[in-house]
Amino acid sequence: MKQPVLQIKDLQKSFGGVHATDNLTLDVTPNEIHAVIGPNGAGKTTMIAQLSGALMPDDGQIVFAGRDITRLPAYRRSHLGLARSFQITSVFLDFSCLENVSLAVLAHQGHAFRFWRAVRGDRTLSDPAMASLERVGLADRADIRAANLAHGEQRQLEIAMALATEPSFLLLDEPMAGMGQSESARMIETLNTLKRDKTMLLVEHDMDAVFALADRISVLVYGQVIATGAPDDIRNNDAVRKAYLGDEAGDA
């Protein structure tokens, strides 16, 4: 078994009385797509937020690429190769698609203490940004304001922005949420091509997508991992069926 690239050890986070993350332990090995499923309110987004640095854990440890990043500020994690996409679309609504992705490229290119030269027309930004848009199939919408995009397109933009920081590890929080069927299919295809050189932690409700993509699946309930295993094991795991999959397992 390969050395894990991401290790979450005994992670704890509570909001008031709610233990959103409760002794969570999880490993992700290089180049796998590790799906995390679980009912609403299980603490999936809270977990992603702690991994990206948006939330600080109460206790526990996060080790990424051999380095303890538990208390590292969010912006530093991006430079280690961690990128996050948001469940609730979080783009720059008053910027165009290309500008949104350019802001991501900008972050990857080091500091932005450059006060004089105009960004517009700077090929060192727009070329990689365009390449990211092409990867998710948004190239022809490059000049449209993000606020004017259809919902599915905004989801694609989310991914394009995450990709533009050239991460080695993607934290994807329900990338297919609210997408139509053809859009979902396209996203699955995109993620599949990314698999070659990236590791992914994929939180997703769409079971078709999960079983199509995941190498391993972890099931999160009440902030705890109740099972981890290959898709078939999870499908046939009694505890999981009871706690979460229920009728959906039959369909999938």
Binding site: Y75, H79, F92, L103, F113, F115, I144, E153, G180
Partner: protein, 481 residues
């Protein structure tokens, strides 16, 4: 899933840039000519008044960098005005009149103050940031009040203006004006470069969505702090100029009221637009000068400024600058094409209105005033009657330009006489809100030295600036379907 979103048409985008830039270009030309016009008109105080406006415009532009582009709602920006001003004032108390030294101190102390207070304030968000910036500015205010040897709360007279080794003589009013004008241009250009640079994009991105910027890998805090320092320095320079203009510095310069006025200017002109704050400063001082000179209510003119600002925010979120973006042309507009009033008839209507005002003003002043003179001398009584006359006159203007156009007569007296009507783009009578907007537009047209009328000639539908802003047309009654 098919996308139902329409694409922004690029041709339209070009048109709006042209309109807006044309307006600002003309505005700059007018500003460049102020001392000349003042000389021709023999009105020396025009230059002085304009100098004050432009100094505050610099301060407003600098606040806009922080507030408009950076999204940091600073309620303490005036502190930098005072710091820049006292750099001149205190130095001159010690006989140091070297302008380069003054400027260096204004910049240095502003930068230092911005760095220290910004480093603390930027750790907070929202209301806390507003309150803490306000608190720091009040600290500056009380610090200068307590400095008895530098005038305390009476302020400090600056005996001689900054000397620039004989290169620039700020004692000459036109020289001071052009110095301020050039500094304003430089500030605008610098701001333009900054907001379009990588740094500026990070600042604007952080305003739009801070969490996302952090996740992408931008250390937002240090960019914001840098932005805060740059804005503070720019405002410190405005303070340096203001001390030279007024020959006086005062703790009041740092008071929250001054900070509030700067916010007014930025919001009024348009947050996050390059020239908006300049417009905001111009309109602010024009209002102070006009509304403020009305007897009785003039003292409380700021009470009127509040509702005015609310109206601006309601009708034009992006401030006056936002008005300069013409609304999309609706299909129904085309139906009005045949009814558009010819220029000559509009001019005639305007002249009638002006004549009407002149006549009523003459009646009020000469006839009524003459009659007052014949009365036994009772100054208090006479004042009261004069004040009443001013209100009658103002009410007349409002009836003519606000009430009549929104009524079934659809136009001012002059327009009614010339058979013209003001209508909305759909050919209907103006809604009250639209009529209010048109009056504000007229204030803007006049406040900017009638630039707004230039379009009337150029525009296919002969719309003046206020017609564009309120989306109205002036048409010939008979030709309206």
């Amino acid at each position: 899933m098919m996308s139902t979103v329409t694409q922004d048409p690029p041709a339209n985008a070009l048109a709006r840039i042209t309109l807006r830039n044309g307006f600002y270009g003309a505005l700059l030309v007018v500003l460049a000519l102020v001392p000349l016009a003042a000389q021709l008109a023999g009105a020396g105080n025009w230059t002085s008044f304009a100098t004050q406006i432009l100094i505050f415009a610099i301060a407003a532009v600098s606040l806009n960098l922080i507030l408009g582009y950076g999204g940091m709602i600073s309620f303490g920006h005036a502190a930098f005005m005072a710091i820049g001003g006292y750099s001149v004032g205190i130095a001159s108390v010690y006989g140091l009149n070297n302008g380069f030294a003054h400027l260096a101190m204004a910049i240095g102390f502003s930068a230092l103050f911005a760095l220290v207070t910004g480093a603390i304030a930027l750790r907070t968000r929202g209301v806390y940031f507003i309150m803490i910036t306000l608190a720091f500015a009040q600290m500056v205010f009380f610090a200068f009040v307590s400095l008895e040897e530098f005038g305390g709360d009476d302020g400090l007279t600056v005996n001689s203006r900054s000397e620039f080794a004989g290169l620039i003589d700020l004692e000459r009013e036109p020289t001071l004006y052009y110095t301020v004008f050039v500094v304003l241009l430089a500030t605008l250009y610098l701001t333009h470069r900054i907001v379009n640079s990588r740094f500026g994009w990070v600042i604007r991105g952080a305003r739009s969505n801070e969490a996302r910027m952090l996740t992408l890998g931008h250390p937002v805090y240090r960019y914001r702090l840098t932005c805060y320092v740059i804005g503070g320095i720019m405002c410190g320079v405005a303070g340096f100029l203001f001390a030279n203009y007024a020959n006086f510095v005062n703790p009041e310069d740092a008071a929250w009221t001054t900070s509030g006025e700067l916010i007014f200017m930025v919001v009024l002109g348009g947050m996050g637009s390059l020239f908006g704050p300049v417009l905001g400063a111009i309109v602010f001082f024009m209002m102070e000068e006009t509304v403020g000179s009305i007897p009785i209510v003039g003292i409380y003119w700021k009470i009127f400024f509040g509702p005015f600002l609310v109206l601006v925010v309601l009708f034009a979120r992006e401030g006056i600058d936002g008005w300069l973006v013409p609304r999309a042309v609706k299909a129904s507009d085309a139906a009005l094409a045949d009814a558009i009033a010819p220029l000559a008839r509009r001019l005639a209507a305007m002249l009638i209105d002006v004549a009407l005002f002149a006549l009523s003003a003459w009646l009020l002043i000469a006839v009524l005033g003459g009659w007052l003179m014949t009365l036994p001398r009772q100054p208090y009584h006479q004042d009261l009657v004069m004040i009443a006359c001013v209100y009658v006159f103002l009410a007349g203007i409002l009836v003519n330009h606000l009430v009549l156009p929104a009524s079934k007569w659809r136009g001012s007296a002059g327009k009614i006489a010339m058979g013209l009507a003001v209508v909305g783009g759909d050919g209907r009578t103006l809604a009250p809100a639209q009529a209010v907007q048109r009056v504000f537009g007229q204030v803007l047209t006049i406040a900017t030295a009638l630039i707004g009328y230039v379009w009337m000639v150029a525009d296919r539908e002969h719309r003046a600036l206020h017609d564009r802003l309120a989306a109205t047309r002036v048409v010939v009654r008979g030709r309206l379907k």
